[in-house]
Each structure stands twice: as structure tokens, then as C-alpha cells.
């Protein structure tokens, strides 16, 4: 019995490893057609589901070098626009029903993901720090317990609620204040910020609370003000935890789907202004998975793989940082 349980326990623990590896391999496999077709160019290509003609001789003669063929196609199009002489040929070819192919690039959702996350952090960080300072150092104990408990509960609210509220109540106000569309990078980022706010505030407060009373008292006993105690003793003491809380929040914001899905606009276009609509990786997955097929589907998996790797990198970095500091 002992042996059997131990084996079972070992297998369950190993399951974690297998699932993570499985996610990576599965996503990679499913993304492989897109990876083969577009390579790393995918990351910098803003086109999504765009028909481009296959006109270059290289593409016809040398099909194995598909990646260079794609970039050559781009070059060709630019050339066509630059030199009027060739444009006739181009027109001809178009009318001739030249074979076209659909290309997919991940730049737009990648930019949308990164910028909505950055906006969320920029918005949430100062407020979360303020809440944490208020709860840990300013508020009387009873208020701190009550408000702290409320904030922890708010961190548990399903993210889709934040999205709905954001779309129908918050976005109109943001659009009125800053101009632009109600669905935009800005509104999506801000709602994302509101969503990570309670989480970030709660764990920042927890880190600040690990500072021993006696250490704070020592600083007060030297004549320090509350702000000086926070700045010189509490923050340095709980630095690792606070940075960790920010990185964990960043990880949450990166992968968040529902709070953003209502608000980002879901169009594959690079935003020129912060108030323009665009799309993020999770939203691209959520909205297009159902209808996609073939290379489009594979490209979505490519996006999922990129998101997975990004989140993995961010969290491992945080873990590594914790580990190094803890030792």
C-alpha cells in the first residue's frame, strides 16, 4: 500500500510537468504549419488574414523557401507602387486571376497584448500601492481589516464582470474624456488595470505587513516620519514581495481574456493612437477559434504558443528572482 501510494503520488506530481510539456508540444505542433510558413517573421508582420498574390518568380520556382518568398512578395508590392512602369503588369496579373494566398502575422495582437498590459500596470500600480500603504500603515485596524477583506473578495469576482461593466459604464466616460472610440486600447487597458487592482493591492499589502513592528518602531524612535518609515524601511524590507506582486499581476494581465474581450475592439489593425481599437492575443483566440481553419487556425495556435511562452518567461523570471533573493 505504502509503495503504491508513493508511486501514485510521484505520478501525480509528475503530471504537472507532463501537462506543461504537453501544452508546449501540442501548441507547437498545432502551430507548426504557420511556423513553417511564416517563421519568426510572424512576430513583426501586421497583416492578418490578408490575400496576397503569388507573383514572384522565386515563389514559383523555389517553393521550399517559402519564408523568403513571403518577404519577396512584400518587396515586389512596394516596387510596384514605386515604379509606375511595372504597375501595368501588376494590374494585368490581378485581372488574370493570379493565384493568391492568405498570410497571417501576429504583430497586431502582440502589440495589443503588450500595450494593454502596460496601460493596465501604469494605471493599477500607483493606486494599488496607495491602497496597500493605506491598509498597512494608515487605516485604523478595524477599517483595514474590513476594507482589506472587501478588496480580497473583489479580487475573486469573475473577470467577465469587469468586461461588461467596462463596456457599458466605464468606456463611454473614458471616450468622452479622452476622445476616440469606446472600444480601444486605452479602455481595454484601463479596465484590465481595474481588474488587477485588488489582486495587486492585496498581495502588496501582505508583503508590507511582513515588516516586523520592531523594525518600524526603530525608525520611528530615531524621529522618522511615517513616509520615511515606509520609504526607507518598509519598502526596502518588502521589496522582493512587492516586485513579485507586480510581476504576478503583469502575468495575469497578459493572459486575461474576458475583461479585454468586450473592450479592445477586436480588429486586426495596428493602433495609431492609444484611443484606437485593436486586438490582443487572448481576444484573437477567443473570437476567432470557432471559425478558423487551416493556416488561420494554425496561426491562432502560433499566437497561443507565443502567449504561453511570454507568460512562462515572466513567471519564471519572477520565480528566479524570488529564489535568488530568498537564498
Amino acid at each position: 500500500m505504502e509503495k503504491i501510494f508513493q508511486k501514485f503520488a510521484f505520478s501525480s506530481a509528475t503530471l504537472v510537468f507532463i501537462i506543461l510539456l504537453g501544452i508546449f508540444i501540442t501548441l507547437f505542433n498545432a502551430a507548426r504549419p504557420a511556423i513553417n510558413e511564416f517563421g519568426l517573421n510572424f512576430i513583426v508582420d501586421p497583416a492578418w488574414n490578408k490575400e496576397v498574390p503569388i507573383t514572384t518568380p522565386q515563389a514559383k520556382t523555389d517553393k521550399s523557401v517559402t519564408q523568403s518568398a513571403v518577404s519577396n512578395t512584400d518587396d515586389e508590392t512596394v516596387d510596384v507602387n514605386d515604379f509606375g512602369d511595372d504597375s501595368d503588369d501588376m494590374m494585368m496579373q490581378d485581372e488574370d486571376d493570379t493565384p493568391t494566398k492568405t498570410i497571417y502575422g501576429g504583430l497586431v495582437p502582440l502589440v495589443g497584448t503588450i500595450f494593454s498590459t502596460l496601460i493596465a500596470l501604469a494605471f493599477a500600480m500607483p493606486i494599488a500601492m496607495g491602497i496597500a500603504i493605506f491598509l498597512a500603515e494608515i487605516a485604523p485596524k478595524k477599517i483595514a481589516t474590513f476594507v482589506g477583506g472587501a478588496i480580497e473578495l473583489l479580487a475573486a469576482i469573475p473577470s467577465i464582470i469587469f468586461g461588461m461593466w467596462g463596456l457599458y459604464y466605464f468606456a463611454p466616460i473614458v471616450a468622452a474624456l479622452f476622445g476616440g472610440f469606446q472600444v480601444s486600447l486605452l479602455t481595454a487597458g484601463l479596465v484590465l488595470g481595474v481588474m488587477i487592482l485588488p489582486f495587486m493591492a492585496a498581495i502588496t499589502r501582505d508583503s508590507m505587513n511582513t515588516t516586523p513592528d520592531i523594525l518600524k518602531e526603530s525608525a520611528y524612535a530615531l524621529g522618522a516620519t511615517k513616509f520615511e518609515v515606509i520609504k526607507d524601511v518598509i519598502f526596502p524590507y518588502s521589496k522582493v514581495g512587492i516586485i513579485g506582486s507586480i510581476i504576478l499581476s503583469l502575468g495575469r494581465a497578459l493572459g486575461e481574456t474576458m475583461a479585454v474581450a468586450f473592450l479592445i475592439g477586436s480588429i486586426f489593425e495596428l493602433p495609431h493612437k492609444i484611443t484606437d481599437p485593436t486586438i490582443s492575443i487572448p481576444v484573437a483566440l477567443a473570437n476567432n477559434f470557432g471559425e478558423a481553419s487551416g493556416l488561420g487556425m494554425s496561426s491562432l495556435f502560433y499566437l497561443a504558443l507565443i502567449l504561453f511562452v511570454m507568460s512562462f518567461a515572466v513567471i519564471s523570471f519572477a520565480k528566479f528572482y524570488f529564489l535568488r533573493k530568498a537564498n
Partner: protein, 260 residues
């Protein structure tokens, strides 16, 4: 001449009906060491923590009576229980420093630890800062051990060194009174001896009040001793009188080890 005069002082913690200190009257004499002894829960730490009003970090305490502190600049006594404004609190804590049960190095370099009180007080001049840090470290018998690594984190020091660092940090702001709250309770015997020696030396410049649960320590280093029991000051006298010839039965029972 006392630097601090505690008169008919009572103290009540928030949410408690009975006072934890009852009608205490006690002088802290200038350039002397006054030890507060008594069994746990007798109120000795509570009394010490009233002397720089560190209690006030947590709201709801009730004070009665007076604690007069001699202001060296004006030569006048001032009741510290009247203090309400933040800047007066800061001044009080610069005049009355404190050392805690455990070493409390701040998460910064050795130099910055000692310079901390000076920096927040607005001293920016580099050479003045390093002079005063050096003087404080020398005064705390730590200079020779750390002079070559002032920029290193204070966390790397041993417990005894950390406690002397905290004393240097408190001494650097030139307080009138230093309060020691069982400063050696977390230290080994050798470090304890070094701290005791240091406290005795500090007496030349600073008046000292020390809470200790260690009666030998009180008899070794203090000039005056106050024995407290259940929130009352039972007896206050010269240390030799308390230990050799106590007037009160309860004092005698305690120092002979019959209770506590």
C-alpha cells in the same frame, strides 16, 4: 538632577479597563543608568515605551500624570504627555532614543544605518555625515570591526554587532536619554558582555534607562534600580540598596528568586 521625571503616571492600553501602570513616580537621573526590573507583565516595558511615546504608533492609549523631560537647550522641563504635533514627536524621539529586544538593522548599508537619523534630520554635508558616523561607531566599539566595509549591507553582521550598530545609530543623533528594552535578550553571553560594557561607557554622555529580566545584569551595570510588580512601582533606590538591603518584602522575595 533628573533628566526625566515621571510623576503619578498611569497608563491604560486600548480596550482594557484596568490601567497597566498605576501611579508611578520615578526619576531618571542624569548620566546614570536606571534599571527597571520585575517579573514579566509587571509593566516595565510599558513604562519604558511611554518615555518616548512609541506607544502612540498604535492609537487609543490613555495617559495620566506627567512625564517631564529636561530640554538641554532651554534648561526647562516639558511634559512629554502634552505632545500632540508630529514635529514635537520627532523632536522627542531625537531626544529620547531607543534600543529594542532584537537587533533592528535597516535593510541598507552599515554607513546608511548609522547615518539614517542624521540624514532624515536634514544633514547632507558628506564630511559631517562621515565624521559623525565614525564617531558613533567608535563610541559603540564597532569601528574597528566594520571600518573596512561601511558600504556593505548591515544584514551581514553578527547579532551582537548588529545590536551595537543599532546603538551607534541611536547615539549618532546625540540623544539626551537612551531607552534599552532588554537589549541583550537575543544575544550570546560574549556579545552581552560587550553590550553591557558599552552601556556603562555611554553613561558619560547619555542618561540611560534599561529594562532587563536579568537581575545580575541590573546589579552589574545600573546605578539605580526600580522594582516593579503588577503595574506598581514597588521600590526605587540605589542599586546596591535594592540588591543588598531591600526595604520591601516583595523586592526581597523577587531578587532572592522566591518568585518571578
Amino acid at each position: 538632577m533628573p533628566v526625566m521625571n515621571i510623576k503619578k503616571f498611569s497608563f491604560t492600553y486600548p480596550g482594557v479597563s484596568d490601567p497597566s501602570l498605576k501611579n508611578i513616580t520615578l526619576p531618571i537621573k542624569k548620566n546614570k543608568i536606571t534599571a527597571l526590573i520585575g517579573p514579566s507583565g509587571c509593566g516595565k516595558s510599558t513604562l519604558l515605551r511611554s518615555m518616548n511615546r512609541i506607544h502612540d504608533l498604535y492609537p487609543g492609549n490613555k495617559y495620566e500624570g506627567k512625564i517631564d523631560l529636561l530640554d538641554f537647550e532651554s534648561g526647562k522641563y516639558k511634559n512629554i504627555l502634552d505632545i500632540k504635533k508630529e514635529n514635537e514627536f520627532i523632536k522627542l524621539r531625537q531626544q529620547v532614543g531607543m534600543i529594542f529586544q532584537k537587533p533592528t538593522p535597516f535593510p541598507m548599508s552599515i554607513f546608511d544605518n548609522v547615518a539614517y537619523g542624521l540624514k532624515i534630520d536634514g544633514i547632507k554635508n558628506k564630511s559631517e555625515l562621515s565624521d559623525r558616523v565614525e564617531a558613533a561607531l567608535k563610541g559603540s566599539a564597532l569601528w574597528s570591526e566594520v571600518s573596512d566595509r561601511l558600504g556593505k549591507s548591515a544584514m551581514g553582521l553578527s547579532g551582537g554587532q548588529q545590536q551595537r550598530l543599532c546603538i551607534a545609530r541611536a547615539v549618532a543623533v546625540k540623544p539626551e536619554v537612551l531607552l534599552f528594552d532588554e537589549p541583550t535578550s537575543a544575544l550570546d553571553p560574549i556579545s552581552t558582555a560587550a553590550i553591557e560594557e558599552l552601556i556603562v561607557e555611554l553613561r558619560n554622555d547619555i542618561s540611560i534607562a534599561i529594562v532587563t529580566h536579568n537581575m545580575q545584569q541590573a546589579s552589574r551595570i545600573s546605578d539605580y534600580t526600580a522594582f516593579m510588580y503588577l503595574g506598581d512601582l514597588v521600590e526605587y533606590d540605589k542599586t546596591e540598596n535594592i540588591f543588598l538591603n531591600p526595604k520591601e518584602k516583595r523586592t526581597e522575595d523577587y531578587i532572592t528568586g522566591r518568585f518571578g
